[in-house]
């Protein structure tokens, strides 16, 4: 929960008094669908109605920037996104806009085609804004003030996000090559006009964009159904691996964390998914220092600001479990391969393993077409051409027609000529 600086000393009291739960963690099993786990988390938080009032405009920001298939923990799972969209619509939202700045190669079209989100928004008929390098006119963005920003005082963001009443941040828990791990805080960069520019002062920048402003998200949801965990030489933000093909890279955790405090969500994720202390992540520390939220997971668990829920279990888990969770974090939980539960149809589109350097496991669609789709349009000029040729031929024929009955070709000429001369005379 974001707190105004002068309220900072009292923040815990306010949090406890105003909202009993600021973060709800829902854990399921491999049998539970993403939608079920999501609903459990939202119910634990007090329902989506707490955030979305009827008629409001809701901006949902999934991770749509990576061109890797679903279930690789690279981008948001389309099923998961569909679940949140339908939930928000059921709560009576006036407009739902899905948006993400696709700043990573190969750009929005290709990324959306491969990660399945493009098809999803098309199927659901949802408004969407997916700017990338080319498809975004300047009017896509607007500049907002960050009154509490310490490194940045203003920021260009997607206009639809700044104008929305409610912003829902739909992050994926995974490793990152610059900030080590990326969860809710880092994911907010997808609202920005130029995410690359934030890199000049990345940690403070990430903290700044989560301070209270026109782009602050009201609800953060961390998707940890599949988590990309550190493996190999250096961490990757995305890749073709799945929890089936490379369980040492992608771990199946079946967890969804929803909440209003991104720092607390990220801190919980650090401990439980990646086995590090939240203070080790500089951007988390900076965000905490900027007053974006609380880092102390243990205290939050103690006073029920973080509550754990099991999918299917009606009652919340008692805080007594907390200690065990924290102790277990020193050794990361073993990944849970789920070969049994995933139907083969879901695997068909996935690559067998990580491929050569460059790692493209899909066929580029961006090809010079064989002009086939232009041929229909080409019929119009072709018809004009044929019409012109026909007109020329018809003109010739009409000029010859009077000649035929006379038999001799010179007669009509002479007649015409005499008329012509008469006209001149």
């Amino acid at each position: 929960m974001a707190i105004y600086p002068w309220l900072k000393p009292f923040s815990r009291h306010i949090a406890v008094q105003k909202q009993a739960t600021s973060v709800a963690v829902a854990e399921g099993t491999n049998d539970d669908s993403p939608a079920q786990i999501l609903q459990t988390a939202l119910a634990g938080l007090g329902g989506i109605e707490r955030f979305v009032k009827p008629g409001q405009t809701v901006a949902i920001k999934p991770n749509a920037t990576w061109a890797y298939p679903p279930k690789t923990a690279s981008s948001t799972d389309p099923d998961f996104l569909a679940a949140i969209i339908q939930t928000v619509q059921a709560a009576g939202a006036g407009r739902v806009i899905v948006m993400d700045h696709c700043s990573i190669e190969p750009g929005a079209d290709e990324a959306l085609r491969i990660n399945g989100i493009g098809q999803l928004v098309k199927d659901l008929g949802i408004e969407h804004v997916f700017p990338d390098r080319f498809n975004a006119p300047a009017s896509t963005y607007t500049k907002i003030d960050l009154p509490h920003g310490q490194g940045n005082q203003s920021m260009g963001v997607i206009k639809a996000a700044a104008q929305a009443d409610v912003r829902i941040n739909l992050a994926v828990a995974k490793t990152h090559n610059v900030t080590r791990f990326t969860m809710c805080l880092k994911h907010m960069m997808g609202f920005l006009q130029q995410p690359g520019l934030l890199h000049t002062n990345l940690e403070q920048g990430i903290a700044d964009i989560s301070t209270p402003s026109a782009m602050q998200a009201q609800l953060h949801i961390l998707e940890a159904i599949r988590v990309r965990i550190p493996h190999g030489m250096y961490p990757t933000c995305a890749g073709p691996e799945t929890d089936i093909t490379n369980p040492q890279v992608v771990s199946r955790r079946n967890t969804v964390i929803a909440g209003t405090d991104p720092v607390l969500i990220d801190a919980y994720g650090c401990i439980n998914f990646f086995g590090i202390q939240p203070q080790e992540l500089t951007h988390l520390l900076r965000a905490h220092e900027s007053g974006c939220g609380d880092l102390d997971v243990e205290a939050a668990l103690a006073d029920n600001r973080i509550r754990l829920f099991k999918v299917g279990a009606p009652l919340p888990v008692e805080p007594a479990v907390v200690g065990a969770t924290l102790n277990a974090t020193q050794a990361p939980l073993a990944s849970k391969p789920t070969a049994v539960n995933i139907p083969p149809s879901e695997l068909s589109g996935q690559p067998a393993a990580s491929s050569a350097p460059g790692g493209t496991s899909y066929s580029p669609s961006n090809q010079v077409l064989s002009s086939g789709s232009l041929l229909n349009t080409a019929l119009i000029p072709a018809a004009v051409i044929l019409g012109g040729i026909g007109l020329a031929v018809l003109t010739r024929m009409r000029r010859r027609l009077p000649k035929e009955p006379t038999g001799t070709p010179h007669l009509p000429d002479q007649k015409d000529d005499s008329q012509n001369e008469a006209g001149r005379g």
């Binding site: 061109a67 990573i104 190669e105 190969p106 750009g107 929005a108 290709e110 390098r133 080319f134 498809n135 975004a136 006119p137 090559n177 610059v178 900030t179 690359g196 520019l197 890199h199 000049t200 002062n201 990345l202 940690e203 030489m233 250096y234 933000c237 500089t282 050569a356 350097p357 460059g358 790692g359 493209t360 580029p364 961006n366 090809q367 010079v368 077409l369 002009s371 232009l374 080409a378 119009i380 000029p381 072709a382 004009v384 051409i385 012109g388 040729i389 026909g390 007109l391 020329a392 018809l394 003109t395 000029r399 070709p409 010179h410 000429d413 015409d416 000529d417 012509n420 001369e421 006209g423």
Partner: protein, 501 residues
């Protein structure tokens, strides 16, 4: 009454020709439209190869002479030559998009009526033979390099100008994008300016494509026939935009006639008609006596087959030497090009070795049009005089996404195969190099590493907060350079032979 009928016939003729010309113009511009759409609507999407260049007989001949067999397209150019054999240079009058644009510009030259009234033949001059010399130079030069051919081929000029016009009109982001493109659209504009000097000036005097077609079209099967009703009023000669009507109004130079039908509608006695007949090798032989029909000066006569206008027979010693000179000039283009010391640029993926690329690229700039990241740009003077207009990769504007999101569009559209198909594994455009004095990570210890995130090849490696480049993995795609937050970029891609660390 006769007068009104004559005018109406002329109108329908002209309308027919305009319809065909507009139709073909739209047809040839159609594959370029996605570029307009993408720039106006800020969209990405498919591109199409040109529909014009595959029909180019001059280019096909150039590819043949340059032993560029893999790029050789035979069918369509042969079909065009066959059409020229049957229908004369109707390509120039009815199809050629450059000619269409000239005809569109022509009415603006309102003072031309007086100028046309004194055609060249009256002064005893003929259309310039310069276009044949240009043809010889272009085709002779093609033995070594088809650079000159690409410069003077009207279809390439039109393709280039259309791309340049689109790119310049629809807001290019960087001045770089305008340089080479604008330079080449100058040639197009010059042709249009010459149109104000004389109708179809380019076609009459300079066009090598027309010269090539007229080698065939002088045997044209579709002929202009003037009946004995001709009164020698020379109105047809004044109407002819190509100055193709010879001293005697009955005779036509089929190497010039574009079958525009202007003479037919201009004829006051309706004595001119077009039809199939072996008149291409015939001349009008007057029988001597004027016809006994009043005031008009009519002459009886007939067309008689003649061998005197067969090609080659009229070739004088002087013309032969001129041809040899043109051949030598064409052949000299390549050695002169290589005298120049040029900085080595980043070429498109799979481009031929630099010396070959300079000889083969005809600067049609199709690759620049279709590049999905707009990283390919037309060089202006950055790569020297001989590299003007040729594609260079400017990583700051956009990297090469071959294999990532692009299936090498530049190779697919290249009409001369100056860009060879290359797989992602074989790709090597250059090598990135980090400028440690400006890099945020090296210079200021900032954890930036945008280049690491952008790298598709895992060649930018973060080590203790700094970034280093694995030279073996780096292919020089340039995404690191396009993403770098430092003004002017702190990471640069250098050509393979230029990298010195």
């Amino acid at each position: 009454m006769a007068r009104t009928r004559r005018i109406s016939t002329g109108r329908s003729d002209r309308l027919a020709r305009r319809m065909v010309q507009w139709g073909f113009l739209c047809l040839f511009i159609l594959p370029l439209l996605p570029m307009i759409y993408k720039r106006l609507a800020f969209q990405t999407g498919s591109d199409y190869a040109s529909w014009l260049l595959p029909w180019d007989p001059l280019l096909a001949l150039g590819n043949l002479l340059n032993r560029n067999i893999s790029a050789l397209i035979i069918g369509a150019p042969l079909l065009l030559l066959a059409i020229s054999l049957v229908l004369g240079r109707s390509f120039c009058g009815w199809i050629c998009p450059l000619g269409t644009v000239m005809d569109l510009v022509q009415p603006l030259a309102f003072w031309h009526k007086q100028r046309v009234a004194r055609p060249n033949h009256v002064n005893g001059r003929r259309n310039s033979r310069l276009r044949y010399l240009i043809l010889v130079a272009a085709l002779g030069g093609a033995l070594l390099s088809i650079k000159l051919l690409g410069l003077v081929d009207p279809l390439v000029i039109f393709t280039r100008a259309a791309t340049a016009g689109i790119a310049n009109l629809l807001g290019s982001r960087q001045a770089f994008e305008r340089g080479g493109l604008t330079y080449f659209s100058m040639l197009f504009i010059a042709i249009l300016v010459l149109e104000f000097w004389q109708p179809r000036f380019w076609c009459r005097h300079l066009c090598p494509q027309g010269a090539l077609l007229s080698l065939v079209s002088r045997f044209s099967l579709l002929n202009r026939r003037v009946s004995a009703a001709c009164s020698n009023c020379s109105l047809c000669r004044q109407a002819c935009p190509m100055d193709a009507i010879l001293q005697d109004e009955h005779d036509t130079d089929y190497s010039d006639c574009t079958l525009c039908l202007e003479c037919e509608s201009a004829c006051p006695v309706r004595g001119t008609s077009f039809g199939f007949g072996g008149l291409a090798l015939a001349v009008w032989k007057p029988s001597g006596q004027p016809a006994p029909s009043g005031k008009t000066n009519r002459r009886q006569g007939e067309y008689i087959a003649s061998a005197s206008i067969l090609p080659g027979q009229g070739l004088s010693r002087r013309q032969f030497l001129q041809g040899l000179g043109a051949l030598a000039a064409g052949l000299a283009i390549m050695p002169i090009t290589h005298l120049e010391k040029r900085p080595s640029p980043l070429r498109p993926p799979g481009a031929l070795p630099e010396t070959d690329f300079l000889n083969v690229c005809i600067t049609c700039q199709e690759c620049i049009r279709v590049c999905p990241t707009r990283g390919l740009q037309a060089a202006f003077l950055q790569t020297g005089l001989s590299g003007i207009g040729m594609p260079v990769l400017v990583p700051r504007l956009g990297g090469c996404s071959l294999g990532v999101s692009c299936s090498q569009l530049c190779e697919q559209v290249c009409p001369v195969n100056a860009i060879q198909p290359v797989s992602q594994q074989q790709l090597k455009i250059g090598t990135a190099h980090v400028d440690q004095s400006t890099c945020l990570a090296w210079d200021q210890g900032v954890k930036c590493l945008v280049c690491v995130e952008a790298c598709q090849y895992h060649a930018a490696i973060p080590y203790q907060g700094r970034v280093t480049i694995d030279v073996n993995k780096c292919v020089g795609c340039g995404f690191c350079e396009s993403g770098c937050p430092v003004p002017g970029s702190a990471i640069h891609v250098f050509p393979p032979d230029k990298l010195t660390i």
